[in-house]
Subunit: 678 residues, 2 copies
């Protein structure tokens, strides 16, 4: 019978019905391989699948793994686990796109060996049994002669050896018992297994893995406006000033310095201080109103400096272990060169004017959105990708992408894949402050990291639920959260109301809950907390619209506190990834307790954090923690060192009491000291 | 850049980058559409997906659904739900294979209407806004002229009407306000939406649905050996005797009568009573040792009767609302005609003999397994499928398949799909007593129902966990459990030790937990409970190896109890499906409480069952149940009728006390009486 719609002939026989193995539930995958899972260089990918066939025949299988663009294919044996699960560990050693596929087949030889051993146990082996085995080994010998090995570990004399065994097994002058012993020799079995009969093997498709550089999964970001980095009051800061700021940032312990757009800023409809509609000559405008007569997305604002200044900044940062991240915001001011050179990349209205951004009835006449339904979408996509390429050529490998959810999703999938094909070291942070499915969608199609809802999660239940979703579901395969307590757009009410303890709590949570986090400074460490107006999340006198001067030497500054947090993050592998996060019980709903662990070279690093989310009042709580609770041997009493204060404490019970004073130590970060360390 | 391995050119542009909609997480599906979801005739399939795009543009979409082999495609609008979820209900009216696919596109017209309404609210609509809308409606008019409607509800004058609206919108003699009012007319909007611009639509692939007859999801099975149905002691029963047994089975309330294999039985290595290795001339042998000189899988055992007798049995059963199920066991006795006619379908050993079944060191020389790696697998598959076709032609539409997990999985997928393509009414019950992944694998690839682990789940926690897995996970999309308290192979220890109460409890659990269930009788209703030996699950003097006589009039019989259970199942839609199952708290770990609900014609049928799993001792328990607990309005006090005893009771609280006496009423099945019924 032929199905007219699908073209599938339901009654038709398959090409070879003898392929009896079923491979199901391959993991890790995202949407059955539609998108890539994410890993970093040096990871071991734990591949799993359900593999089974009919009957009692033994199964064998392998995982093949290859790096896109490379000829080599690694092969790892699948090992059988309980309940028809099979497993193999596959290392990924370099940044880039990998793919893995599974192959499995019925292993009649292994079945025969196992059956023969059972027969020998009860003295029931027979001449026919040995004849069956001889035929199986003879076919392995044929494959050995033909070069049909599974892997590379073959010996030149394998075929000869197998042929001689076949003769022995068929030699009726030898006793059946003697021949069975020959057949069950382990060394022989190893040789035969190098040449399996894979005539009826079953193979899956290829499942993608994107392997990123380590900073994709562990990074500490510091955002600052270069134009506010001048030493003298009133002067427009420069990239050269920003270089002078690097030591300060390095002392704080950050490893990414992220600059808002550094391009020429439009004049038309330029916004004044506090987002007012009228700007005067001296107002610098918003860096996100990109493009002027001096150039667009590949130009540098003349007041900030030159290409050479940027190169110097990138180099000076690298010397300090810091990467420079640029902000890519695909939108144009009316003065952007593209508006005249490529009006076809924008929407033209019936009156001939170009459509500005709108959220009716609000109008944003200083911004022209790009039209992703342009008939010239091909040249547009190539130009947009070219913006990244321009800055990658200048040594930038980290990009923060502004509002990616207002640009075409298929564009991002193509753009990121293409860029990473040429330069797998590039990392993209999505400023995807949008609905959950879109936020996750952007991560699936390629963004390395994403902003999150952390900024608005301030109570224990909210943080616990959110972190559980991020670290204990399939989300962990494709979404890397980057937690920001503030951004130039978001001064949360919690920071507005809670002063210094509030700032300490939020940055400590971000730094210990997730391996990627960032702050917008110096506003953060200087406790900038005044909103534009009551009820607003906008900063008063926001740097988005004006140059600001910051007194980094202020006694208010919590720079030292942040530096300690970053030091702890660097010293403790446990804090450098998110998968091991687990929450621990407390008897106070305002106190959140959680641990992270990491094991390397046989030692397990355990960091246990307790946070008082009430920034006004001291809270005491009993918290449930013991080495056994994180899967270690139980060794009561055990030593813990609080890392922010460098104080040791001995805990004896599963439940221990902590006292969290918001003005002194609202968040406590404990390291479990193993006996040999203590 | 070209990826040499995958052939995918990662840097290449897509065909049309302007298709901006993303459709994700389509459901219901099994393994992303690799296998079909299962439904029955008359179901409404609730299709869901996550659908989103960049930016703020509105989206529109439809689900298309078509029956394989039919030309018609139904189209249902997708409706937007919270959190980027979209939904449509799709009815499936006939048995057969269906497929559905989703299509979605950016709806610029709908976006424009919505924006215009917002502008009008604040008096900010402009001539340009109306010009943009006029162009959108003009393009809809062009599609109307070209016959490009989304669905069938068009009017002949649609194009003319749209064209006149375009003129009105462009008529500068009319005020902007007046023209905006014209544009926002609801009747106009309905017309425009019949002709959406789907230039950049995104479509998914087709996802399969198998629609089965109602008895696939609600059926009560009674297994009996026809050879034990003779009225006179010592005589071999016949199909004619079985016809005389039908009234008894109908009185019990069963609607499927399942016969173990009815084929000629092999002589070679025939097993004697209690599976002894030596049989004498008078021993009838095991019906599963199929095939003799009289024929194989398409022949009827001469002592049972003829093709005509079977036809009479099938017809007589149908008259009583009962379907006859045959047992298909693809294995052969050494005397099966295939052994000589098609030795190539078996494994031939090096000594020329045919390989018998083995589980070393155990040998089953009375059985030749079929070789699914035969070079002649094509002719084998066609012959095996032909066995089903033979019996389907004789009116049999229900098959119980013996040990399907020892036959090739790809064979089953092809065989079942092919048979159902020609006869969608056929139902297959898998005797898949095997490991979980294989049991589920057989269900995915096509079996309509499956035996389960119920037979060994006897405590409350085990039953609760198992039912939760079966009814509250994706398993429910492809796996229909069929619960059997006993089979000819399994006399569980619980039945051996617990006498009449044990038999009452187990059959009542099976009948109320799942919509498909069955018993092996008359052994069950006559409380047959003696094992072959201590510790065995085999029956003593099992019917598998000898003819038995049963005294159906025994005072011991619980036939009346079973008949009441089946009557309750027929009267209550709540018990006729499994998805609504929910467990309710009790204060006694030996007492299990659960409810099922079904809504039809605005009335909700609620059945609440309480079971004492301790067959020796009376248990009292408080059980948590109220109309609110099953999603109904709360109306305390409420009336419940216990259906086995036909006693009414009024419950006032959420927690009510029950007393469950194993010798009287160990399981109580309550019906919630709605006020108008009470």
């Amino acid at each position: 019978m032929h199905d007219e719609h699908t073209g599938r002939r339901t009654a038709d026989l398959p090409d070879d019905g003898r392929r009896r193995v079923v491979i199901d539930a391959v993991r890790p995958t995202v949407d059955h391989g539609r998108y890539a899972v994410k890993r970093i260089v040096g990871d071991i990918v734990s591949v799993r699948a359900d593999i089974f066939a009919d009957g009692h025949d033994h199964i064998r299988g392998v995982v093949r793994c290859r790096r896109s663009g490379s000829d080599g294919v690694s092969v790892a044996d699948l090992v059988q686990m309980p309940n028809d699960e099979w497993a193999a560990d596959v290392p990924v050693d370099a940044a880039g796109r990998y793919e893995f596929a599974l192959t499995a087949w019925i292993d009649h030889y292994d079945t025969w060996v196992s059956d023969l051993a059972k027969r020998v146990e009860v003295d029931s082996e027979s001449d026919v049994d040995l004849a069956i085995g001889a035929a199986l080994i003879e076919s392995a010998a044929r494959r050995a002669r033909a070069g049909g090995a599974l892997a590379a570990n073959t010996r030149p004399d394998d075929a000869t050896r197998l042929e001689s065994v076949v003769r022995l097994l068929r030699d009726r002058d030898r006793s059946i018992r003697e021949r069975a012993a020959t057949a069950l020799d382990h060394a022989l079995i190893d040789v035969v297994k190098r040449y399996p009969d894979r005539s009826f093997e079953v193979a899956t498709g290829w499942y993608p893995i994107v392997v990123d550089p380590p900073n994709a999964s562990f990074s500490s970001w510091y955002e600052l406006f270069p134009r506010s980095t001048a030493d003298e009051p009133g002067r427009h800061g420069t990239l050269a000033d920003t270089i002078r700021r690097l030591d300060y940032i390095a002392d704080l312990g950050f490893d990414v310095v992220y600059l808002p757009p550094i391009h020429p800023i439009g004049r038309s409809y330029r916004k004044g201080p506090n987002n007012t509609l009228v700007a005067d000559e001296s107002d610098p405008g918003s860096p996100w109103a990109i493009g002027g007569p001096e150039g667009g997305h590949t130009a540098i604002h003349p007041q900030l400096g030159t290409d050479d200044d940027l190169a110097r900044l990138v180099a000076a940062a690298r010397e300090r272990g810091i990467l420079v991240a640029l902000d890519i915001a695909f939108q144009c001011s009316p003065d952007h060169p593209w508006v005249t050179e490529h009006p076809e990349w924008f929407v033209t209205r019936p009156d001939g004017s170009i459509q500005y951004a709108e959220n009716p009835p609000k109008k944003y006449q200083d911004i022209y959105p790009i039209n992703f339904e342009s008939e010239q979408w091909r040249s547009l996509w190539i130009a947009l990708k070219g913006v990244f390429e321009h800055w990658i050529e200048r040594g930038v490998t980290v990009f923060r992408v502004d509002n990616p959810h207002t640009k075409s999703f298929p564009f991002w999938e193509w753009c990121i894949a293409s860029l990473k094909a040429d330069c797998p070291e590039v990392v993209f942070l999505a400023e995807a402050f949008t609905r959950p499915k879109r936020m996750y969608g952007l991560a699936k199609l390629g963004f390395s990291q994403s902003y999150t809802y952390f900024t608005w999660r301030t109570d224990a239940a909210g943080l616990r639920d959110y972190m559980t979703e991020l670290t204990s579901t399939d989300v962990v395969e494709f979404f890397r959260p980057n937690f920001w307590p503030n951004t130039p757009d978001i001064l949360h009410d919690y920071l507005q109301r809670n002063g210094r303890p509030g700032f300490m709590i939020r940055v400590a949570l971000a730094a210990t809950l997730t391996a990627n986090y960032g702050i917008y400074g110096p506003a953060y460490e200087l406790l900038e907390s005044e909103p534009r107006e009551e009820g607003s999340e906008e900063y008063l006198d926001s740097e988005k619209y004006q140059v600001r001067e910051w007194d980094l030497t202020s006694e208010q500054s919590i720079a030292g506190y942040i530096a300690r947090l970053n030091r702890i993050r660097r010293d403790h592998p446990a804090l450098q990834h998110d998968r091991s996060l687990r929450f621990h019980a407390t008897d106070n709903e305002e106190v959140l307790a959680y641990s992270k662990t990491a094991t390397a070279d046989g030692r397990t690093d355990v960091v246990f954090t307790v946070a008082n989310l009430n920034a006004r009042h001291t809270r005491t709580a009993k918290v449930e923690f013991s080495p056994a609770a994180v899967g270690l041997h139980d060794s009561r009493p055990f030593r813990m060192r609080e890392l922010l204060t460098d104080h040791g404490v001995t805990w004896k019970e599963y439940w221990n009491r902590v006292r969290l004073d918001p003005f002194h130590n609202p968040v406590q970060v404990y390291h479990l000291i193993e006996e040999e360390d203590a």
